[in-house]
Point group: C2
Chain length 323, copies 2
């Protein structure tokens, strides 16, 4: 009898890091998405290193011994499907790893617009010496939608530089330790007009899909900047494009899109009031090592029968916050 658990590792384009530390404790089956079905037979654990892969649902009947899936990403919206939600299989994610890089990315995106660095680049290419109006972020008002660990870390960083930050979550409340005021997402259109920056750091669920509706966009200040590091589908993307084209919005920093990669002919690439980045706001110099270390730590907890960190509430679609 093999005492080692079977861990199926779904690899992708990116080399898998940290396997050398696991191989003495587990039988590793490294596979691509095409081989996932057979690699799941009898497997105890699925380590979805290629966390954007789709297709698990198709081979789900093969997951005959599966107990735990670890997704080294923050959002698990691509993963969840009814049979998995209904099953006893535990899902964990990489909560925490992306917090600080994403918070810094958001602050950088805000300063990019406050200081007009996009315009700087454009004038630099034309060798044109001419200044433009800038704004200060000190005292500017920010609404951060999403009160999980990414939203909280972002709120703390933005507060540290003197911004006035509120939150938005499932339910309204006051006196939150990171946000002070938290609005209910149902009130988004009602409160949107009060902010200079709106940051999306929420998970994609049926409750948050298109939370930035056409109505919300219309309620925003015409100078306001939208920063989306959550998921593209949190926004009515067509309405956003129209608002940006008509300059009814100050600008947008978009790291996520309805369809990724963003199609080459998409008009968002062309807008001079948009900063497009390829779903990378959570990357940092050490993120792959940190993801590997986080799985290793959770794997040892699992082997010892201890509680797993970052267990996703499969019905909610995210790891519930501790407050």
């Amino acid at each position: 009898m093999n005492a080692k658990p079977i861990v199926t590792v779904l690899a992708g384009d990116r080399p898998v890091i940290g396997l050398e530390k696991l191989q003495e404790h587990a039988e590793l089956r490294i596979t691509d998405i095409a081989g996932l079905g057979s690699a799941l037979n009898g497997a105890d654990v699925l380590y979805m290193w290629d966390f954007f892969a789709e297709g698990l649902q198709d081979v789900w009947p093969n997951a005959d011994a599966l107990k735990w899936i670890h997704v080294p990403a923050a959002g698990v919206d691509k993963l969840l499907f009814p049979e998995l939600v209904e099953s006893d299989v535990v899902v964990t994610n990489a909560r925490g790893i992306f917090d600080r890089p994403m918070a810094e990315f958001v602050l950088g995106g805000i300063l990019h617009f406050a200081k007009g660095f996009g315009l700087a680049g454009e004038r630099q290419r034309r060798q044109h010496w001419k200044s433009w109006p800038t704004t200060e972020v000190a005292g500017a008002r920010v609404l951060v939608a999403g009160t999980g660990s990414i939203g909280r870390c972002t709120a703390r960083l933005l507060r540290a530089v003197g911004m006035d930050v509120d939150g938005m979550g499932r339910t309204a409340r006051a006196g939150d330790r990171d946000f002070g005021t938290v609005h209910a997402s149902a009130d988004f259109a009602k409160v949107a007009g009060g902010y200079d920056y709106v940051v999306l750091a929420a998970p994609l669920t049926t409750a948050t899909e298109r939370m930035v509706s056409r109505t919300v966009l219309e309620a925003m200040k015409s100078s306001a900047v939208l920063v989306n590091v959550g998921r593209g589908k949190l926004v009515d993307q067509d309405a956003l494009v129209q608002a940006l084209q008509a300059r009814r919005l100050g600008g947008a920093v978009l790291d996520v899109f309805e369809t990724e990669p963003l199609p080459q002919d998409h008009e968002l690439w062309q807008l001079d009031n948009v900063l497009v980045t390829p779903h990378m706001s959570g990357d940092s110099q050490n993120w792959l090592d940190e993801l590997a270390a986080q799985f290793e730590s959770n794997f040892h907890a699992w082997r010892q029968g201890k509680p797993l960190a970052n267990v996703v509430d499969k019905r909610l679609g995210f790891v519930p916050s501790d407050c």
Copy 2:
């Protein structure tokens, strides 16, 4: 006898703000640089609204009654000449107004490189979906040259986001309230290699000119980013261009240049590892109003014989710091 003092206002391209509040207290003579000579005859005060203007030295003999010059700028290097330095005429500047905008500009410039937003713009124009390595600013080491109010405000803001900041001033010291360690500028080449970012916020004086020499540039990390919001002549600009072209430096955020405007055919415009901005890091949404209010306040102090704020030490070339 006219009880009102004569205030000569050197106007420039930018409309002068705040005169309506002064005119009941002073006889105002608004002039351009061509008329400055005759407008100085008998004038008590020179308000150099056009703070980049040169030519005061040429008409200095006309300043027969001058007691005070106010320059609504931080750097007075363009203004000072031997006859003025030797005279009893008091010079004041706009210390304080630019601190926060410049500190934010520096932070934005640092994040621009940490997150690769220059590359983002380049890939966006090519509609190319491909991520790039980023770094975190948390824990990154910064050296801020200049321990006046701009350098201090910058240090505080960079510390607030978790950066590890040291200062550089005339003399080495420990335990500074904003910097902790302050290195002596004489040791620049010795310490430069320890920093991820080097920020120049020093005044231009004979002691600081070309403080970033070829030797200092060679001592810097090849990944380091130079941010210059002080004066172009703080840097050996030719050596900087060579270091950037050879990728012996990570990049540069340059708001100031040896010659301004930066000549149209200058190679700095072309470098993809440089962010060029047209001497505007201190601008903000309210800066002109704030400059006007600051002069008004100092003017009333002067009329009442009270001490003036922000008196420049004409031999040092800046307002000495209070610590």
